[in-house]
Protein backbone atom coordinates (compact mmCIF):
# COMPACT_ATOMS: atom_id res chain seq x y z
CA UNK A 1 0.00 0.00 0.00
CA UNK A 2 1.02 3.55 -0.63
CA UNK A 3 1.06 6.00 2.27
CA UNK A 4 2.01 9.64 2.57
CA UNK A 5 3.82 10.67 5.73
CA UNK A 6 3.14 14.32 6.45
CA UNK A 7 5.79 15.89 8.63
CA UNK A 8 4.28 18.42 11.00
CA UNK A 9 6.31 21.11 12.70
CA UNK A 10 5.28 22.72 15.95
CA UNK A 11 6.20 26.18 17.26
CA UNK A 12 8.17 24.55 20.05
CA UNK A 13 10.19 22.51 17.55
CA UNK A 14 10.90 25.56 15.39
CA UNK A 15 12.18 27.38 18.47
CA UNK A 16 14.41 24.49 19.43
CA UNK A 17 15.83 24.39 15.94
CA UNK A 18 16.49 28.16 16.10
CA UNK A 19 18.27 27.82 19.42
CA UNK A 20 20.65 25.12 18.16
CA UNK A 21 24.29 25.84 17.52
CA UNK A 22 25.73 25.17 14.10
CA UNK A 23 27.19 21.80 15.06
CA UNK A 24 23.98 20.67 16.67
CA UNK A 25 21.95 21.72 13.66
CA UNK A 26 24.31 19.92 11.30
CA UNK A 27 23.88 16.78 13.39
CA UNK A 28 20.10 17.13 13.23
CA UNK A 29 20.16 17.47 9.45
CA UNK A 30 22.50 14.55 9.22
CA UNK A 31 20.06 12.38 11.22
CA UNK A 32 17.32 13.28 8.76
CA UNK A 33 19.60 12.40 5.85
CA UNK A 34 20.36 9.04 7.46
CA UNK A 35 16.65 8.34 7.92
CA UNK A 36 15.99 8.93 4.23
CA UNK A 37 18.96 6.73 3.31
CA UNK A 38 17.88 3.92 5.64
CA UNK A 39 14.38 3.82 4.19
CA UNK A 40 15.37 4.61 0.61
CA UNK A 41 13.92 1.30 -0.65
CA UNK A 42 10.47 2.21 0.72
CA UNK A 43 10.40 5.93 -0.03
CA UNK A 44 9.12 6.55 -3.52
CA UNK A 45 9.02 10.32 -3.39
CA UNK A 46 9.58 13.16 -0.95
CA UNK A 47 9.17 16.91 -0.77
CA UNK A 48 10.34 19.52 1.66
CA UNK A 49 8.15 22.61 1.86
CA UNK A 50 9.45 26.16 2.24
CA UNK A 51 8.44 27.89 5.51
CA UNK A 52 4.80 28.73 6.02
CA UNK A 53 5.31 32.50 5.67
CA UNK A 54 5.93 31.89 1.96
CA UNK A 55 2.48 30.36 1.47
CA UNK A 56 -0.26 31.89 -0.66
CA UNK A 57 -3.85 30.68 -0.56
CA UNK A 58 -6.30 30.92 -3.43
CA UNK A 59 -10.02 30.36 -2.96
CA UNK A 60 -11.80 29.47 -6.18
CA UNK A 61 -15.41 30.54 -6.15
CA UNK A 62 -17.27 29.44 -9.21
CA UNK A 63 -17.61 32.12 -11.84
CA UNK A 64 -16.31 35.04 -9.83
CA UNK A 65 -12.69 35.98 -9.56
CA UNK A 66 -10.66 33.75 -7.17
CA UNK A 67 -9.63 35.34 -3.88
CA UNK A 68 -5.93 35.32 -3.23
CA UNK A 69 -4.63 35.82 0.29
CA UNK A 70 -1.28 35.78 2.01
CA UNK A 71 -0.56 32.81 4.26
CA UNK A 72 -1.66 29.19 4.69
CA UNK A 73 -5.34 28.16 4.44
CA UNK A 74 -5.42 27.23 8.12
CA UNK A 75 -3.51 29.33 10.60
CA UNK A 76 -2.17 27.06 13.27
CA UNK A 77 0.65 26.28 15.59
CA UNK A 78 1.27 23.04 13.74
CA UNK A 79 2.17 23.25 10.07
CA UNK A 80 3.00 20.63 7.49
CA UNK A 81 6.63 21.04 6.51
CA UNK A 82 7.09 18.19 4.09
CA UNK A 83 5.91 14.89 2.68
CA UNK A 84 7.33 11.47 2.04
CA UNK A 85 5.52 8.91 -0.03
CA UNK A 86 6.23 5.31 0.94
CA UNK A 87 5.27 1.92 -0.44
CA UNK A 88 4.83 -0.71 2.29
CA UNK A 89 2.64 -3.73 3.10
CA UNK A 90 0.33 -2.21 5.70
CA UNK A 91 -0.21 0.45 8.34
CA UNK A 92 2.01 -1.29 10.89
CA UNK A 93 4.96 -1.09 8.54
CA UNK A 94 4.23 2.58 7.83
CA UNK A 95 4.05 3.25 11.57
CA UNK A 96 7.36 1.50 12.06
CA UNK A 97 9.07 3.80 9.57
CA UNK A 98 7.33 6.84 11.04
CA UNK A 99 8.48 5.91 14.53
CA UNK A 100 12.15 6.22 13.63
CA UNK A 101 11.78 9.74 12.16
CA UNK A 102 14.39 11.87 13.94
CA UNK A 103 13.09 15.43 13.42
CA UNK A 104 9.76 17.28 13.83
CA UNK A 105 7.55 15.81 16.55
CA UNK A 106 4.21 15.16 14.79
CA UNK A 107 3.43 13.03 11.80
CA UNK A 108 0.17 12.34 9.98
CA UNK A 109 0.05 9.07 8.10
CA UNK A 110 -2.49 8.70 5.36
CA UNK A 111 -3.10 6.06 2.72
CA UNK A 112 -2.71 7.47 -0.77
CA UNK A 113 -3.36 6.29 -4.29
Amino acid sequence: MKYVLMFVETEQFAKELQAMGELERDAAFEAVGRWFAEHADKITHHTHLAPVHTATTMRLQGDSEPVITDGPFVEGKEVVSGFAEIEVADLDEALKIARSWPACPVMEIRPAS
Binding site: Y3, A89, D90, L91, D92, K96, R110, P111
Partner: protein, 401 residues
Protein backbone atom coordinates in the same frame (compact mmCIF):
# COMPACT_ATOMS: atom_id res chain seq x y z
CA UNK B 1 -31.27 -30.77 19.05
CA UNK B 2 -32.00 -30.00 22.64
CA UNK B 3 -35.50 -28.59 22.79
CA UNK B 4 -35.38 -26.82 26.09
CA UNK B 5 -35.95 -23.15 26.60
CA UNK B 6 -32.58 -21.48 26.27
CA UNK B 7 -31.65 -18.93 28.86
CA UNK B 8 -30.14 -15.64 27.95
CA UNK B 9 -26.88 -16.60 29.71
CA UNK B 10 -26.51 -19.89 27.86
CA UNK B 11 -27.19 -18.20 24.56
CA UNK B 12 -24.61 -15.50 25.24
CA UNK B 13 -22.05 -18.09 26.32
CA UNK B 14 -22.48 -20.35 23.30
CA UNK B 15 -22.38 -17.46 20.84
CA UNK B 16 -19.29 -15.99 22.50
CA UNK B 17 -17.50 -19.31 22.40
CA UNK B 18 -17.93 -19.68 18.65
CA UNK B 19 -18.43 -16.28 17.06
CA UNK B 20 -14.83 -15.14 17.38
CA UNK B 21 -13.43 -18.39 16.01
CA UNK B 22 -15.73 -18.20 13.01
CA UNK B 23 -14.82 -14.55 12.43
CA UNK B 24 -11.12 -15.35 12.69
CA UNK B 25 -11.25 -18.13 10.13
CA UNK B 26 -13.47 -16.20 7.73
CA UNK B 27 -11.18 -13.15 7.83
CA UNK B 28 -8.25 -15.42 6.99
CA UNK B 29 -10.18 -17.08 4.20
CA UNK B 30 -11.63 -13.98 2.56
CA UNK B 31 -8.82 -11.61 3.43
CA UNK B 32 -11.53 -9.02 4.04
CA UNK B 33 -12.24 -8.14 7.65
CA UNK B 34 -15.44 -6.25 6.96
CA UNK B 35 -17.07 -8.80 4.67
CA UNK B 36 -16.21 -11.66 7.05
CA UNK B 37 -17.57 -9.75 10.02
CA UNK B 38 -20.87 -9.05 8.23
CA UNK B 39 -21.36 -12.76 7.56
CA UNK B 40 -20.66 -13.72 11.15
CA UNK B 41 -23.00 -11.05 12.41
CA UNK B 42 -25.78 -12.31 10.14
CA UNK B 43 -25.26 -15.82 11.44
CA UNK B 44 -25.40 -14.59 15.03
CA UNK B 45 -28.59 -12.63 14.39
CA UNK B 46 -30.13 -15.80 12.97
CA UNK B 47 -28.98 -17.82 15.98
CA UNK B 48 -30.38 -15.28 18.44
CA UNK B 49 -33.75 -15.54 16.69
CA UNK B 50 -33.92 -19.26 16.25
CA UNK B 51 -32.07 -20.90 19.13
CA UNK B 52 -34.42 -19.63 21.85
CA UNK B 53 -37.23 -21.37 19.95
CA UNK B 54 -35.50 -24.41 18.50
CA UNK B 55 -32.88 -24.99 21.18
CA UNK B 56 -29.13 -24.76 20.80
CA UNK B 57 -27.96 -27.18 18.11
CA UNK B 58 -25.57 -29.98 19.06
CA UNK B 59 -22.84 -28.43 16.96
CA UNK B 60 -23.39 -24.70 17.30
CA UNK B 61 -20.16 -23.94 15.45
CA UNK B 62 -21.24 -26.02 12.44
CA UNK B 63 -24.64 -24.33 12.51
CA UNK B 64 -23.15 -20.83 12.56
CA UNK B 65 -20.65 -21.79 9.90
CA UNK B 66 -23.34 -23.14 7.59
CA UNK B 67 -25.51 -20.06 7.95
CA UNK B 68 -22.56 -17.72 7.40
CA UNK B 69 -21.46 -19.69 4.35
CA UNK B 70 -24.92 -19.76 2.80
CA UNK B 71 -25.32 -16.08 3.51
CA UNK B 72 -21.94 -15.40 1.95
CA UNK B 73 -22.75 -17.25 -1.25
CA UNK B 74 -25.95 -15.24 -1.38
CA UNK B 75 -24.70 -11.78 -0.55
CA UNK B 76 -21.32 -11.82 -2.18
CA UNK B 77 -22.80 -12.61 -5.57
CA UNK B 78 -20.72 -9.99 -7.29
CA UNK B 79 -17.50 -10.82 -5.53
CA UNK B 80 -16.84 -13.96 -7.53
CA UNK B 81 -13.53 -14.56 -5.86
CA UNK B 82 -15.06 -14.64 -2.35
CA UNK B 83 -17.85 -16.87 -3.61
CA UNK B 84 -15.36 -19.33 -5.02
CA UNK B 85 -13.51 -19.47 -1.73
CA UNK B 86 -16.69 -19.98 0.27
CA UNK B 87 -18.04 -22.56 -2.14
CA UNK B 88 -15.01 -24.76 -1.59
CA UNK B 89 -15.52 -24.72 2.15
CA UNK B 90 -17.19 -27.71 3.76
CA UNK B 91 -17.87 -28.53 7.38
CA UNK B 92 -15.83 -29.55 9.24
CA UNK B 93 -13.23 -27.04 8.20
CA UNK B 94 -9.67 -28.24 8.58
CA UNK B 95 -8.55 -27.51 12.12
CA UNK B 96 -6.36 -24.44 12.37
CA UNK B 97 -4.64 -22.88 15.30
CA UNK B 98 -6.79 -20.50 17.27
CA UNK B 99 -6.53 -17.28 15.29
CA UNK B 100 -8.52 -15.12 17.63
CA UNK B 101 -5.35 -13.44 18.86
CA UNK B 102 -4.92 -11.80 15.45
CA UNK B 103 -8.54 -10.79 15.60
CA UNK B 104 -8.10 -9.16 19.01
CA UNK B 105 -5.03 -7.21 17.92
CA UNK B 106 -6.77 -5.93 14.81
CA UNK B 107 -9.85 -4.84 16.79
CA UNK B 108 -7.66 -3.04 19.35
CA UNK B 109 -5.31 -1.39 16.87
CA UNK B 110 -4.14 1.99 18.20
CA UNK B 111 -5.13 3.67 14.90
CA UNK B 112 -8.77 3.11 15.96
CA UNK B 113 -10.45 5.27 18.59
CA UNK B 114 -10.95 3.71 22.00
CA UNK B 115 -14.72 3.58 21.61
CA UNK B 116 -14.33 1.88 18.24
CA UNK B 117 -11.86 -0.63 19.71
CA UNK B 118 -14.34 -1.52 22.43
CA UNK B 119 -17.35 -1.83 20.13
CA UNK B 120 -15.40 -3.84 17.58
CA UNK B 121 -13.92 -6.22 20.16
CA UNK B 122 -17.32 -6.88 21.70
CA UNK B 123 -18.88 -7.49 18.34
CA UNK B 124 -16.18 -9.42 16.52
CA UNK B 125 -14.43 -11.31 19.30
CA UNK B 126 -17.33 -11.78 21.74
CA UNK B 127 -20.10 -12.00 19.14
CA UNK B 128 -22.34 -9.35 20.70
CA UNK B 129 -24.94 -7.76 18.47
CA UNK B 130 -25.04 -4.01 17.92
CA UNK B 131 -28.19 -3.86 20.07
CA UNK B 132 -26.48 -5.69 22.96
CA UNK B 133 -23.48 -3.36 22.85
CA UNK B 134 -25.76 -0.33 22.76
CA UNK B 135 -27.64 -1.65 25.80
CA UNK B 136 -24.37 -2.34 27.64
CA UNK B 137 -23.16 1.22 27.26
CA UNK B 138 -26.58 2.88 27.26
CA UNK B 139 -26.02 4.63 23.94
CA UNK B 140 -28.30 4.62 20.89
CA UNK B 141 -27.95 1.61 18.63
CA UNK B 142 -27.27 3.86 15.65
CA UNK B 143 -24.22 5.29 17.45
CA UNK B 144 -22.74 1.82 17.93
CA UNK B 145 -23.58 0.81 14.37
CA UNK B 146 -21.88 3.93 13.08
CA UNK B 147 -18.77 3.36 15.18
CA UNK B 148 -18.46 -0.18 13.88
CA UNK B 149 -19.04 0.77 10.26
CA UNK B 150 -16.44 3.54 10.48
CA UNK B 151 -13.93 1.30 12.20
CA UNK B 152 -14.31 -1.45 9.61
CA UNK B 153 -13.88 1.11 6.87
CA UNK B 154 -10.75 2.43 8.50
CA UNK B 155 -9.31 -1.08 8.85
CA UNK B 156 -9.77 -1.67 5.14
CA UNK B 157 -8.81 1.76 3.83
CA UNK B 158 -5.92 2.58 6.17
CA UNK B 159 -4.42 -0.88 5.75
CA UNK B 160 -4.63 -2.01 9.38
CA UNK B 161 -3.17 -5.52 9.23
CA UNK B 162 -4.72 -8.76 10.45
CA UNK B 163 -1.87 -10.27 12.38
CA UNK B 164 -0.12 -10.55 15.70
CA UNK B 165 2.29 -7.60 16.07
CA UNK B 166 6.03 -8.09 15.73
CA UNK B 167 7.90 -8.75 18.98
CA UNK B 168 9.17 -5.16 19.12
CA UNK B 169 5.61 -3.78 18.81
CA UNK B 170 4.03 -6.38 21.07
CA UNK B 171 4.39 -4.72 24.50
CA UNK B 172 2.73 -1.49 23.36
CA UNK B 173 0.01 -3.26 21.44
CA UNK B 174 -0.72 -5.62 24.32
CA UNK B 175 -1.15 -2.62 26.64
CA UNK B 176 -3.78 -1.36 24.20
CA UNK B 177 -5.70 -4.66 24.34
CA UNK B 178 -5.50 -4.82 28.14
CA UNK B 179 -6.76 -1.24 28.39
CA UNK B 180 -9.80 -2.17 26.29
CA UNK B 181 -10.60 -5.19 28.48
CA UNK B 182 -10.04 -3.19 31.67
CA UNK B 183 -12.33 -0.40 30.50
CA UNK B 184 -14.97 -2.94 29.61
CA UNK B 185 -14.68 -4.44 33.07
CA UNK B 186 -14.87 -1.05 34.77
CA UNK B 187 -17.89 -0.03 32.77
CA UNK B 188 -19.65 -3.21 33.83
CA UNK B 189 -18.38 -3.20 37.41
CA UNK B 190 -19.42 0.30 38.32
CA UNK B 191 -21.32 1.78 35.46
CA UNK B 192 -20.76 5.48 34.92
CA UNK B 193 -24.22 6.00 33.51
CA UNK B 194 -27.42 6.77 35.29
CA UNK B 195 -29.40 3.84 33.91
CA UNK B 196 -28.18 1.15 36.28
CA UNK B 197 -25.49 0.54 38.83
CA UNK B 198 -24.02 -2.60 37.33
CA UNK B 199 -23.99 -4.23 33.92
CA UNK B 200 -23.22 -7.84 34.59
CA UNK B 201 -22.84 -8.91 30.99
CA UNK B 202 -19.92 -6.56 30.36
CA UNK B 203 -18.07 -7.88 33.39
CA UNK B 204 -18.69 -11.37 32.10
CA UNK B 205 -17.33 -10.45 28.68
CA UNK B 206 -14.30 -8.74 30.19
CA UNK B 207 -13.44 -11.80 32.27
CA UNK B 208 -13.96 -14.08 29.32
CA UNK B 209 -11.73 -11.92 27.11
CA UNK B 210 -8.98 -11.79 29.71
CA UNK B 211 -9.11 -15.57 30.11
CA UNK B 212 -9.04 -16.06 26.35
CA UNK B 213 -6.06 -13.75 26.04
CA UNK B 214 -4.29 -15.55 28.90
CA UNK B 215 -4.72 -18.80 26.99
CA UNK B 216 -3.52 -17.33 23.70
CA UNK B 217 -0.57 -15.39 25.15
CA UNK B 218 0.56 -17.49 28.11
CA UNK B 219 3.93 -15.75 28.48
CA UNK B 220 2.50 -12.35 29.35
CA UNK B 221 2.18 -11.93 33.12
CA UNK B 222 0.22 -8.69 32.79
CA UNK B 223 -2.59 -10.61 31.09
CA UNK B 224 -2.71 -12.95 34.10
CA UNK B 225 -2.58 -9.88 36.33
CA UNK B 226 -5.66 -8.41 34.66
CA UNK B 227 -7.48 -11.75 34.77
CA UNK B 228 -6.72 -12.14 38.49
CA UNK B 229 -7.78 -8.53 39.11
CA UNK B 230 -11.15 -9.08 37.45
CA UNK B 231 -11.72 -12.39 39.25
CA UNK B 232 -10.80 -10.95 42.64
CA UNK B 233 -13.30 -8.14 42.18
CA UNK B 234 -16.00 -10.50 40.94
CA UNK B 235 -15.49 -12.87 43.85
CA UNK B 236 -16.73 -10.13 46.17
CA UNK B 237 -19.63 -9.10 43.94
CA UNK B 238 -22.38 -10.58 46.11
CA UNK B 239 -21.49 -8.30 49.03
CA UNK B 240 -21.18 -5.06 47.08
CA UNK B 241 -24.87 -4.23 46.98
CA UNK B 242 -27.51 -4.65 49.68
CA UNK B 243 -30.96 -6.10 48.99
CA UNK B 244 -32.21 -2.61 48.14
CA UNK B 245 -29.52 -2.27 45.46
CA UNK B 246 -27.49 0.20 47.51
CA UNK B 247 -23.71 0.15 47.32
CA UNK B 248 -22.07 -1.32 50.43
CA UNK B 249 -18.58 0.00 51.17
CA UNK B 250 -15.72 -2.36 51.93
CA UNK B 251 -15.68 -1.92 55.75
CA UNK B 252 -19.40 -2.72 55.92
CA UNK B 253 -19.46 -5.67 53.54
CA UNK B 254 -20.56 -9.08 54.80
CA UNK B 255 -17.39 -11.04 54.05
CA UNK B 256 -19.15 -14.38 54.42
CA UNK B 257 -20.83 -13.55 51.11
CA UNK B 258 -17.50 -13.42 49.32
CA UNK B 259 -16.52 -16.38 47.17
CA UNK B 260 -13.43 -17.38 49.16
CA UNK B 261 -12.59 -20.26 46.87
CA UNK B 262 -12.49 -17.94 43.87
CA UNK B 263 -10.39 -15.46 45.85
CA UNK B 264 -7.87 -18.17 46.67
CA UNK B 265 -7.73 -19.41 43.09
CA UNK B 266 -7.19 -15.91 41.70
CA UNK B 267 -4.51 -15.11 44.27
CA UNK B 268 -2.71 -18.36 43.47
CA UNK B 269 -2.89 -17.56 39.75
CA UNK B 270 -1.32 -14.18 40.41
CA UNK B 271 1.46 -15.57 42.59
CA UNK B 272 2.30 -18.24 40.00
CA UNK B 273 2.56 -15.67 37.21
CA UNK B 274 4.69 -13.35 39.31
CA UNK B 275 7.09 -16.14 40.34
CA UNK B 276 7.41 -17.52 36.85
CA UNK B 277 8.05 -14.30 34.95
CA UNK B 278 9.47 -11.79 37.43
CA UNK B 279 8.05 -8.99 35.30
CA UNK B 280 5.82 -6.87 37.52
CA UNK B 281 3.37 -4.52 35.85
CA UNK B 282 0.47 -2.29 36.81
CA UNK B 283 -2.21 -4.97 36.50
CA UNK B 284 -0.31 -7.49 38.61
CA UNK B 285 0.23 -4.87 41.31
CA UNK B 286 -3.40 -3.75 41.26
CA UNK B 287 -4.46 -7.38 41.57
CA UNK B 288 -2.07 -7.80 44.51
CA UNK B 289 -3.72 -4.83 46.23
CA UNK B 290 -7.18 -6.27 45.73
CA UNK B 291 -5.88 -9.65 46.95
CA UNK B 292 -4.69 -7.97 50.18
CA UNK B 293 -8.22 -6.74 50.78
CA UNK B 294 -9.83 -9.99 49.74
CA UNK B 295 -7.66 -12.15 51.97
CA UNK B 296 -8.36 -10.16 55.13
CA UNK B 297 -10.82 -12.10 57.30
CA UNK B 298 -12.21 -8.91 58.78
CA UNK B 299 -11.88 -5.24 57.86
CA UNK B 300 -9.69 -4.79 60.95
CA UNK B 301 -7.29 -7.45 59.63
CA UNK B 302 -6.45 -5.51 56.47
CA UNK B 303 -2.69 -5.23 55.96
CA UNK B 304 -2.62 -1.51 55.21
CA UNK B 305 1.15 -1.18 55.45
CA UNK B 306 1.52 -3.76 52.69
CA UNK B 307 -1.16 -2.01 50.64
CA UNK B 308 0.68 1.33 50.88
CA UNK B 309 3.88 -0.37 49.69
CA UNK B 310 2.02 -1.84 46.74
CA UNK B 311 0.57 1.57 45.87
CA UNK B 312 4.10 2.99 45.93
CA UNK B 313 5.10 0.29 43.46
CA UNK B 314 2.08 1.02 41.30
CA UNK B 315 2.89 4.73 41.28
CA UNK B 316 6.41 3.90 40.16
CA UNK B 317 5.13 1.67 37.32
CA UNK B 318 2.19 3.84 36.26
CA UNK B 319 2.00 7.26 37.90
CA UNK B 320 -1.52 8.71 38.05
CA UNK B 321 -3.43 11.10 40.32
CA UNK B 322 -6.19 8.52 40.87
CA UNK B 323 -3.63 6.03 42.17
CA UNK B 324 -2.21 8.70 44.47
CA UNK B 325 -5.72 9.24 45.83
CA UNK B 326 -6.09 5.54 46.56
CA UNK B 327 -2.69 5.50 48.25
CA UNK B 328 -3.82 8.39 50.44
CA UNK B 329 -6.94 6.44 51.41
CA UNK B 330 -4.74 3.52 52.50
CA UNK B 331 -2.31 5.84 54.26
CA UNK B 332 -4.97 7.10 56.67
CA UNK B 333 -5.04 3.63 58.28
CA UNK B 334 -1.26 3.57 58.67
CA UNK B 335 -0.44 7.18 59.55
CA UNK B 336 -3.81 8.69 60.38
CA UNK B 337 -6.28 11.07 58.70
CA UNK B 338 -4.03 14.11 59.00
CA UNK B 339 -1.26 12.49 56.91
CA UNK B 340 -3.81 11.36 54.32
CA UNK B 341 -5.27 14.84 54.16
CA UNK B 342 -1.85 16.28 53.36
CA UNK B 343 -1.57 13.92 50.41
CA UNK B 344 -4.89 15.12 49.01
CA UNK B 345 -3.74 18.74 48.84
CA UNK B 346 -1.66 18.23 45.72
CA UNK B 347 -4.49 16.34 44.03
CA UNK B 348 -7.20 18.96 44.47
CA UNK B 349 -6.59 20.45 41.07
CA UNK B 350 -6.01 17.33 38.98
CA UNK B 351 -9.04 15.52 40.44
CA UNK B 352 -11.45 18.37 41.07
CA UNK B 353 -14.11 16.69 38.93
CA UNK B 354 -13.55 13.23 40.42
CA UNK B 355 -16.28 12.33 42.94
CA UNK B 356 -14.10 9.94 44.96
CA UNK B 357 -11.70 12.77 45.82
CA UNK B 358 -14.49 14.73 47.46
CA UNK B 359 -16.02 11.69 49.15
CA UNK B 360 -12.59 10.79 50.57
CA UNK B 361 -12.09 14.33 51.69
CA UNK B 362 -15.43 14.15 53.48
CA UNK B 363 -14.46 10.95 55.27
CA UNK B 364 -11.17 12.38 56.45
CA UNK B 365 -12.85 15.59 57.62
CA UNK B 366 -15.36 13.55 59.60
CA UNK B 367 -12.51 11.57 61.16
CA UNK B 368 -10.90 14.87 62.13
CA UNK B 369 -14.12 16.13 63.72
CA UNK B 370 -15.02 18.73 61.09
CA UNK B 371 -18.59 17.67 60.16
CA UNK B 372 -19.67 20.87 58.42
CA UNK B 373 -16.80 20.78 55.93
CA UNK B 374 -17.36 17.03 55.51
CA UNK B 375 -20.97 17.70 54.60
CA UNK B 376 -19.91 20.23 51.97
CA UNK B 377 -17.39 17.80 50.47
CA UNK B 378 -20.02 15.05 50.25
CA UNK B 379 -22.30 17.46 48.49
CA UNK B 380 -19.60 18.21 45.93
CA UNK B 381 -19.14 14.46 45.38
CA UNK B 382 -22.88 13.97 44.90
CA UNK B 383 -23.02 16.64 42.21
CA UNK B 384 -20.25 14.92 40.27
CA UNK B 385 -21.43 11.31 40.14
CA UNK B 386 -23.98 9.89 37.73
CA UNK B 387 -23.94 6.41 39.23
CA UNK B 388 -27.23 5.75 41.09
CA UNK B 389 -25.66 3.51 43.74
CA UNK B 390 -23.00 6.10 44.56
CA UNK B 391 -25.66 8.80 44.63
CA UNK B 392 -27.78 6.85 47.09
CA UNK B 393 -24.81 6.31 49.38
CA UNK B 394 -23.86 9.97 49.37
CA UNK B 395 -27.44 11.09 49.90
CA UNK B 396 -27.61 8.87 52.94
CA UNK B 397 -24.40 10.37 54.33
CA UNK B 398 -25.76 13.85 53.74
CA UNK B 399 -28.88 13.02 55.74
CA UNK B 400 -26.85 12.11 58.83
CA UNK B 401 -27.45 14.50 61.67
Amino acid sequence: MVNEPVSHEVLARVVREHAGRLAASLVSLLGDFSAAEDLVQDAIEAALQRWPVEGVPDLPDAWLFTVARRRGLDVLRRESNYRAKLAQLQWPVPPRPDERLRLIFTCCHPALSRSAQIALTLRVVCGLSTAQIAAGFVVPETTVAQRITRAKKKIAEAGIPYRVPTPEDLPGRLREVLAVIYLLFNEGYLSSTAERAQARDLVDDAEWLAALLAGLAPDEPEVIGLLALIRLHRARGAARFDTGGRLVLLPDQDRSLWDHEAIQAASALLVRAARRHHRPGPYQVQAAIVACHAEAQRWEDTDWAQIVVLYDMLLYLAPSPVTRLHRAIALQYVKGPEAAMNELKDLADALKHYPLLHATHAELLRALGRPQEAWEADERALKLTANPAQQALLEERLSWP
